[in-house]
Amino acid sequence: MSQRPLHIIGKARRRVDGRAKVSGETRFADDLILPRMLFCRLLRSPLPHARIVSIDVSRAQALPGVHLVLTGADLPTTFGILPVSQDEHALCLDKVRFVGDPVAAVIAQTELLAEEALALINVKYEPLTTIASPEEALAQSEPRIHDYGDSGNIHKSVAMSFGSVEQGFAEADHIFDDTFSYAGNTHLPLETHAAVAALDPDGKLTIWSSTQTPHYVHRSIAKVLALPPSRVRVIATPQGGGFGGKTDPFNHEIVICKAALVTGRPVKICLSREEVFYCHRGRHPVLMRLRCGVKQDGTLTALHLQTLLDGGAYGSYGVASTFYTGALQTVTYHLPSYRFEGCRVFTNKPPCGPKRGHGTVQPRFGQEVQLDKIAVALGLDPAELRLRIVEKPGALTANFLKIRTIGLAECIRSVVRRSGWADKHRKLPYGRGVGIACSSYLSGAGMPIYYNDMAHSGVQLKLDRSGLVTAFCGAAEVGQGSDDVLCASVAEVLGVEIADVKVVTGDTDLSPVDLGSYSSRVTLMMGNAAIQAAERARELVAGPVAAKLGVPVEQLVFSHGRVFPAAAPETGMSFREAVIIAEAVHGTLGTTGSYKPPKPAALFKGGGVGPSPTYSYTAAVIEVEVDPDTGWLHIEKIWIAHDIGRALNPTLTRGQVEGSVYMGLGEALMEEQAFRRLPPKLSGALVHRTPSILEYKSLTSLEMPDIDTELIEDPDPSGPFGGKEVGQGPLLPIMPALANAIFDAVGVRIDEVPITPEKILKGLANLQAGKPARVGPKGFPTVPYPEPLQVPTPWQGGDGRAVNDAVRSKDKRAKNV
């Protein structure tokens, strides 16, 4: 086929689902109303850690209007997102692990009645010692919150060494040793989780759910309910925000499926805002220590990173989160040697999991603030320091991550230029300052969540004589615009209008598998699959059309809803006429496309976390004003540049950048998943401090500063039309850039997130008292990390395997963690 300029991709455009969203017609899960629908409410544990002695549901069961009461015994099979942590029950079976853990479910005629019936359930508990913090989890191996994991209350402890950090430190002119902490925070999607389950007329089970991962929910429901997956249909409804909070299979989804099977009636559940705080799966609180060796000119020689994650009560994505805290340090700046040790512990709090930037946000904060400290110590401009050490395109890093395109230097130059950095850094009057930070993120995880050799994303196209092209894909529309990417990719390749393509997504019965909306994978993976399917469809149509027109296939152009020879456009025909010709020749027209990421170069255990088809890069400058009397912060402006490869729809990509900045700024300034522990003698309760949208502080329109965004577009051959991720990466530089700006403004280091006025005043008071002007963790505890895997770097001739892993060296295949 003849090449032509892009018509749709790269142009700002109303998203394909835009009209529905502004007219109130988008049907979210709680908007579904089915005849004879019943309502479910969950009874949740009031104790942080206890054995369930008995549950008496008889009074609730007897209440008129109550149709069903379920307890753990009704759903004894465990589930969980990762194969290695199948540690959840739909309803707690023998013990509860945090305040909010679901214990029983009531299904009743109305939601209010179900709620009232919960009070009639009598649960007897035998309290167990509560583990409230990572320090307590390390110190107390008993009682164990779970009877699996590495030991005691340590869920997962990992260590890996790439090259020799000892040698790296020996070659360094300076060694910087810093500790940082990052508070937990949560996604706070405006839509609370909701789902409806019902039996189809043919007896099969369907669930509509606000989930980012219909495929994984499908697997979990089939597993727990012991149903063949072919008899379970999961439909991901459009979501009112996810941000990673709806990527796990959840208790309530399984419970209502069971209830629909038992009652034979549709059952709806819509979680309260408080319950969403208990579902959580948000940002892990992480304590970090970074030791970094540097030469006088800023060249890095070694990095030793240690992390300690407070995982909460369940596994969730935690094993992956743990690896992610150590995965991406190497992809921004060249590191000749690197050691990573990570440990996740269980505590009696809602489970942590993946939130926008999954696991990489916390160490990125530490790394970028430490670089600022390094620049100060070496007398270098922090932007210049970063430019000196930026990793090279095509590099294979110390930990065997393959870099493709890298626009980080362009990003840095862009924000430096636009912010007037040279005239501001260390030059603004006291109280005002600028800070810079960079980041990188995956364009999709290189490995699936459960090990398999199949495609990560599939797209199916149906074309017929109407001229309509229907694109089917399992991807879930979280609000990020995945439906638009699918539609635009197909329309672009086939040269038709957006309006001539219809998308059917997120439906496990109808659409081919896509693994879900996480790890910034959808645009790249679904986009590539869509292009492949569309190119195949184009070939299918082109053959008969070329024959009919008597021109070589290579000369045909698909553009503006027409198919024609490049040399004689007037002799062509409409796309619809072309399809009719093709349908007459081939019969029913359909194609498929699929995408599977390249095999990772990392073959060591844990090497499955970090590889990606390509990485996005971001740099940000923040200008801040600090009031030294009150510690109050005012963000003047944020300049950000993001290496996106190509912006498929600039309106949406800008929205992803600004939305990431917003969320990062909220984390930087105020968002915190905080807990209260009451005196053990009196209560011992360990509760979420304020599980409400009022007291979990997020930015309003009044706190949002202006953002100046530039997209760096250097098409990456691995991405669809050259595109890379944009949904998560731009969040990462915000917290460290703010911390660095505050240092520039008032000379205080805040080595913690969130950065509050209280902490700034504390830092200023330290400064005045002649103490180090720093607020942050005092030290890093002794963590029993295992002996590290020794992996020789590529420049040491390494082949991606550890030299001291007896098990792995026999198994040539790289498995996921």
């Binding site: 009031p46 305040v99 009031d627 009196l682 509760v687 409400s692 502080k697 930015l699 309003t700 006025p757």
Partner: protein, 341 residues
């Protein structure tokens, strides 16, 4: 979805009808003025009245009137109406500044002045759902017998969170309370008790019908509020001042009130004593700020640390006094409160 329990809704058309209904079973009855505080509390089962008396149709309570001597605001006048009334901006700026910072645009269109003055005291251990409160074993204010804020405290320490009250205290306002038994008028300070449970001196059968603000020529007033965000949040500290200066710039009268630092709004009597007859110098301002600081007793039951909130008393008192002195600190106001325009 969080839902309200069942109750009886009474919708009187006149004040006398409302008072008569209230007299029937006052302890099990709540007044539904705007409902923006009552209804969330009922959804969380913190408050469980069996009867609600709506003031929506009681037109006597919806009037904002001005006479030569005073501004009279009906108890059910909506906050938005106060925000939009030119007379309030001209003569009772502290009230406008306070009211325009309450909650959100939407809530101000529903909430009333009487409702804000009678706002239930707040506490992180109390403004929670029934299951959450069960998880801590409840607290003194509702269903329990201990105050978790200070476990040895003999009384509930929930915090007064009205923005309007300190502003009206500084403006020397009075409130009218009516019941079938008769009327009485109180200075605003006398409306409150320093007790998180019994925070009002208003009797259950009484209705707050009117607020009366004396008109004082040349009065300058201001309200400064501390909270994390520029919208939604209840005050972590409110500082209201009203000052009259004579021709020489000496203080003729000064009133300073603090909100959100105890279970009642506090009138800082020291301020008047120190400032009357004096110039508003920085030294005078600092002394008043110190006096206010020593009176403030924030507790660990709200956003931000209590030491920070206490420390901010000095800053905000200074800012408020400097503002009424005529210093141009609009930028500070805008930065701190994200108050626009």
């Amino acid at each position: 979805m969080l839902r309200l329990p069942n109750f009886t809704l009474l919708q009187p058309q006149t004040l006398s009808e409302a008072l008569a209904l209230l007299a029937v079973d006052p302890h099990n009855t709540a007044i539904l003025a705007g409902g923006t505080d009552l209804l969330p509390n009922m959804k969380r089962r913190q408050q469980t009245p069996r009867r609600l008396i709506s003031l929506r149709h009681v037109s006597e309570l919806h009037k904002l009137a001005v006479s030569d001597a005073e501004i009279r605001i009906g108890g059910a006048v909506r906050l938005r109406a106060i925000e939009d009334a030119p007379i309030i901006a001209e003569e009772a700026l502290a009230l406008r500044q306070a009211v325009s910072q309450i909650a959100t645009v939407h809530i101000r269109g529903t909430a009333t002045l009487g409702g804000n003055l009678c706002l239930d005291t707040r506490c992180d251990y109390y403004n929670q759902s029934e299951p959450w409160r069960q998880a801590i074993g409840y607290c003194k204010k509702k269903d329990g017998d201990i105050c978790w804020v200070a476990t040895s405290s003999p009384r509930c320490l929930a915090v007064s969170s009205t923005d309007a009250a300190p502003a009206l205290m500084a403006l020397d306002a009075k409130v009218q309370l009516r019941s079938v038994r008769g009327d009485r008028e109180l200075s605003l300070s006398d409306l409150y008790h320093n007790d998180g449970i019994h925070y009002l001196t208003k009797r259950p059968d009484e209705l707050l019908t009117q607020v009366r603000i004396p008109r004082r020529p040349g009065l300058r007033s201001a309200y400064w509020k501390l909270r994390r965000r520029g919208a939604f949040d209840f005050p972590l500290l409110g500082v209201a001042v009203a000052v009259q200066l004579d021709e020489e710039g000496l203080v003729r009268d000064a009133r300073l009130a603090l909100g959100a630092v105890s279970s009642q709004p506090i009138l800082v009597e020291e301020a008047g004593k120190r400032l009357i007859g004096q110039e508003l110098t920085n030294d005078q301002i600092d002394e008043v700020a110190d006096a206010a600081y020593s009176l403030a007793k924030p507790m660990d039951h709200a956003d931000m640390s209590l030491s920070y909130r206490k420390g901010m008393v000095r800053s905000l008192v200074r800012s408020a006094l400097r503002e009424v002195r005529g210093d141009d600190i609009a930028a500070d106001r805008q930065r701190l409160m994200r108050m626009l325009g």
